[in-house]
């Protein structure tokens, strides 16, 4: 026992966010009371953030295997085969809590962390996407958070030279005190050169490299495992500070180390820093690790073992080298101006043993820290308010009177409006692979040296998930897949980033459990494996939780990059065809929120067989080179989809003249309802019969609804004899409202 260490009191245990039972379990494992350093190590490794103690029993249900899966969950990231001896390595992670406390650094280090997860696996990162949630922009605080987060993402990603090629942003006041920052990264690796975080080979040296260790970020993982209250701003010292330049050096050094035959295993020091990287690598190999803190590079003197083991200083890595290769490893790190030190060795006894100045300061079975944390089967039940959310009397809501006004309202609502103000601040072209830039349904990045490309999208409609978490999760999977298919890609894998409230509340746990069921069912149906993921609980402030937000990052493969598809109309005179059929799906729609200020009703109906048939049909049409554009109908329904196809093209705008059948539906549902499994395509008229024939073969409803024409968007609704021209607006006006709304909202005083 070290001298001068405080006694472990009840208060100290509570400050470390450990329960009495958890503390007793620690005593049982050690056969004694822990010292302060050990208590700290247990507290971070057994935090919700690191241990998945509330989620693990549910996560086990998700489908994680498939013929293309090279690496499933459990490593730094997942990996999926794309042929040609290559695989894509990808994962998504949250940095929600730090981004609320310090938006620039919180978001920047979120980017840094996910990048390390990817290049640790031996993959060069080639694309980033971000999924963000903020409160509405009329509040100066929300504008400040958004500007800070966007700058942080730009500052880090741009410097790294990894393009930020896409993403999505939704605004809702439910996120005002708990904004979400979810970052997705995809890298490219040779299949036979995937690296894993394992400390195999007793006697092999353990080498620390990267930045020096400082006092920043201590207890970041614990902070991320707690709810917020009014004093949360005081947690600023737990947010790390990022240095993208060092990370760039770390990236190049790692890839150079991996090109040679030097390494046994490697892992980044993310949440819980040196503690997690060492115990997880040891546990995976069934070994132990002995660390000597005396030689750990430090930023300042006087740091205690507690601080060194818990520091979350960024841009640090731990590698296990082959014995005898230390000097070569050190030389490469020095070439890239990185700090480097042999800090320990792999041992056979399964113990993570930490020494400082020759004294043992911690001695814990590695597996106990990494894998034997508490598991909770937390109780769950639907909340009493659930029925109030879904029961909506549509008769009390007046049908749309002026659809022109409603369309403009939707187009300029920040959730739907163009995100150009954001993505122009991100370098989305570096590495010269970006075939489809931000602003279409999915981003497409070519794979040099092959004809292929990968498409990526991040999606989740959290309002649907609030109204019905099971359906909402299924809808998220379906929409992500549809977005990929619209770009011409076959979905091949998924990563998730599950953002929820406090799991100790049965209603939140119910949302979580239902969302997992929904994801499972949809992924199994589409045969899309989930290869990596992250859970962020405790997105709650003063008892108010965010909407359940199971964010998905989906990856698709395009065999011929030349045939990737975009969402905007291409040519005057082209047919506009609607694939899929419309229902009266107004529940949970953006229209109800933006125009009627209601977030109620049941989310749209989804039939997975119908959805899958649409995907197969659309892919066949795109491969047959029959289409000019394809755009998914999502928030804002077909009216917004048509408007976006008119105005979102990078070169020019085009008008459209369209007639939609009404049947017995409300007019607002026809225009703005969010019925699923629908895509607006455009094509040269010569291909009309071929397209309709294709659709018939796949049993997908298809209807020519109009043509690309002129410089106005004209939409008539009705059936023979009673057709009403409901939308008639110049595309210039649509573009002005949609294109600059975000800037206006952000620059208001």
């Amino acid at each position: 026992m070290q001298t001068g260490m405080p006694l472990i009191t009840k208060d100290l245990i509570a400050q470390h966010n450990l329960t009495g039972e958890e503390y007793q379990k620690i005593i049982d494992i050690l056969g004694r009371e822990p010292n302060l350093t050990e208590l700290g190590m247990f507290s971070v490794m057994w935090s919700e953030h690191c241990s998945y103690k509330s989620s693990r029993v549910h996560l086990k249900k998700l489908p994680t295997t498939g013929p293309r899966v090279v690496q499933g969950p459990g490593e730094n990231a997942g990996a999926v085969d794309i042929g040609d001896g290559l695989c894509v390595v990808f994962k998504m992670e949250s940095h929600n809590h730090p981004s609320f406390i310090e938006p620039y650094q919180g978001a920047a280090t979120g980017v840094g962390g996910i990048l390390r997860d990817i290049f640790t696996m031996g993959a060069r990162p080639i694309a980033l996407l971000d999924s963000l949630r903020f409160g509405e922009l009329h509040s100066p605080k929300n504008r400040h958070l958004m500007k800070g987060v966007v700058s942080g993402i730009a500052g880090y990603g741009n410097c790294m030279g990894v393009p930020t090629v896409g993403g999505e942003i939704v605004f809702n006041d439910i996120y005002a005190l708990n904004p979400l920052v979810n970052v997705f990264c995809l890298g490219l690796a040779h299949q036979d050169k995937i690296f894993r975080g394992t400390a195999a080979g007793v006697g092999n040296p353990v080498i620390y490299f990267g930045s020096k260790t400082g006092r920043d970020g201590i207890h970041g993982a614990t902070m991320a495992s707690d709810s917020f209250d009014d004093q949360s701003e005081q947690k600023r010292p737990t947010v790390q500070v990022g240095d993208p330049f060092t990370e760039k050096l770390l990236l190049e050094a790692c890839l150079e180390l991996m090109e040679r035959d030097l390494l046994v295993g490697i892992q980044d020091m993310g949440a819980a820093g040196l503690t997690s990287s060492s115990c997880e690598m040891a546990s995976r190999a069934g070994n132990g690790i002995e660390l000597d803190l005396t030689v750990v590079p430090r930023r300042e003197p006087g740091m205690t073992p507690y601080e060194i083991m818990l520091s979350e200083s960024q841009e640090r890595m731990l590698m296990v080298a082959k014995a005898g290769k230390e000097d070569e490893c050190i030389a490469i790190c020095r070439k890239w101006d990185l700090d480097v030190a042999v800090v320990g060795k792999v041992t056979a006894d399964g113990i993570l043993r930490v020494l400082d100045q020759g004294k043992i300061v911690a001695e814990i079975p590695a597996k106990a820290l990494a894998d034997d944390g508490p598991r909770y089967e937390r109780p769950f039940q639907p909340p009493a308010y659930q029925d109030m959310l879904t029961n909506l009397n549509y008769d009390a809501i007046q049908d749309v009177k002026d659809a022109n006004v409603a369309l403009l309202t939707l187009l300029e609502s920040p959730t739907i409006a163009s995100k150009r103000w954001v993505y122009e601040q991100y370098d989305h072209m570096v590495r010269t692979n970006t075939v489809v830039r931000p602003g279409s349904d999915a981003a497409v990045v070519r794979i040099k040296g092959t004809k292929k490309a990968v498409a990526m999208t991040v999606d989740c409609n959290s309002r649907y998930c609030l109204l019905n978490p099971y359906e909402g999760a299924r809808l998220a999977v379906a929409e992500a897949a549809r977005n990929l298919v619209c770009s011409g890609a076959v979905p091949i894998g998924l990563t998730d980033c599950l953002n929820f409230g406090n799991p100790e509340r049965p209603d939140i746990m119910w949302q979580f459990a239902m969302a997992i069921e929904g994801m499972k069912d949809a992924c199994e149906h589409f045969q899309i494996p989930i290869v990596s993921g992250n859970v962020s609980f405790y997105n709650e402030t003063n008892g108010l939780s965010i909407y359940p937000t199971p964010m998905l990052g989906m990856v698709g493969l395009i065999d011929d990059a030349e045939r990737s598809m975009t969402q905007w109309f291409q040519q005057e005179g082209d047919d506009i065809i609607l694939l899929g059929s419309s229902r009266e799906d107004l529940g949970g729609s953006e229209y109800l929120k933006a125009v009627h200020a209601r977030e109620q009703g049941s989310p749209p109906y989804l039939n997975l067989d119908v959805e899958k048939a649409l995907h197969d049909c659309l892919l066949s049409l795109i491969r047959g080179e029959l289409l000019q554009s394809a755009h998914d109908c999502s928030e804002g329904g077909i009216a917004v989809a048509l408007a976006e196809s008119c105005i979102s093209g990078p070169e020019r705008t085009l008008g459209a003249v369209v007639r939609l059948t009404r049947g017995r539906f409300r007019k607002d549902a026809v225009l703005f309802g969010e019925s699923q499994s629908r895509v607006v395509i455009s094509a040269k008229p010569v291909h009309r019969q071929a397209i309709l024939g294709h659709a018939k073969r796949f049993s997908v409803p298809a209807e020519v609804i109009g043509s690309v024409s002129g410089d106005r968007l004209i939409v008539a609704v009705g059936d023979e004899g009673s057709v009403e021209r409901m939308i008639d607006q110049s595309v210039g006006v649509l573009l002005e409202r949609w294109g600059f709304s975000l800037e206006r909202a952000l620059n208001q005083v």
């Binding site: 410097c159 030279g161 760039k248 890239w336 072209m429």
Partner: protein, 237 residues
């Protein structure tokens, strides 16, 4: 042609330049580590984009002290072609190989998007395959591309036809609205008095293949290849 692409710590368009010259245009490429002190055997040198040394302190301010920059200066003094793109342009300014300085963009933000530039002088080794007045569509990606210099230097640049590219509209009008970053006189690229050193903010290596939008960027690299071949022919004679 053997092109050297300098790799500073923090360069991130080095691979893109290598890809264009090697895979698209079939030339030889040598990656030059920033600690190198000789550029012997190279026909031209590229200082690529990125964030050399993190661009801490000021863009390009640390890179100019890199050992390789002495070699670049000698190479330029001997008449060798030097092209600085984006961060490379910023480094050339800091190193004194080109006049002027870069300020923060007028919007204060990083800007990544397509721009149009007008070729103001086609009689250079970097623009010889272009027509004078031709409009090229080339993207920018920078936070500090707002070119500034004093009025006397600017007058000199203009008088000596050293302004090579100016931001313009799609149909070639040089207007304030067409300038994305507040750059003085819409300047997007300048050369030195001798004509063998060019700095430009737009990224021609990002638009040298149709799949990426346009091939307009190729003109600059092709001009360099033509110039290098002419030089070699002249040397043989």
């Amino acid at each position: 042609m053997n092109i050297g692409v300098v790799v500073f710590p923090g360069s991130n368009c080095d691979h893109d330049c290598e890809h264009v010259f090697k895979d698209v245009l079939g030339q030889d490429v040598t990656m030059v580590w920033h600690r190198e002190t000789s550029l012997a055997g190279l026909d031209a040198v590229i200082l690529p984009g990125g964030f050399s040394y993190g661009d801490y302190l000021r863009t390009g301010a640390i890179a100019r002290f890199s050992p390789v920059m002495q070699a670049v200066k000698q190479f330029a003094a001997g008449g060798g072609l030097v092209l600085g793109i984006c961060n490379g342009f910023q480094i050339l300014l800091e190193a004194g190989l080109l006049p002027g300085a870069m300020l923060r963009n007028k919007s204060l933000h990083f800007i990544c998007r397509e721009t149009y530039v007008k070729v103001e002088n086609a009689a250079t080794p970097f623009t010889s395959v272009c027509k004078s007045g031709q409009v090229l569509k080339i993207p920018i990606a920078h936070a500090d591309g707002n070119y500034y210099t004093d009025p006397v230097t600017l007058a000199g640049l203009q008088a000596n036809a050293q302004v090579i590219f100016r931001y313009c509209t799609a149909d070639g009008k040089v207007t304030p609205e067409a300038c994305p970053n507040g750059s003085l006189d819409n300047i997007a690229g300048i050369r030195n008095a001798e004509g063998n050193v060019l700095g430009m903010m737009p990224h021609p290596e990002r638009c040298a293949e149709t799949m990426l939008g346009t091939e307009d960027g190729r003109a600059i690299f092709q001009s360099m290849i033509v110039s290098s071949e002419r030089k070699k022919l002249a040397g043989v004679r």
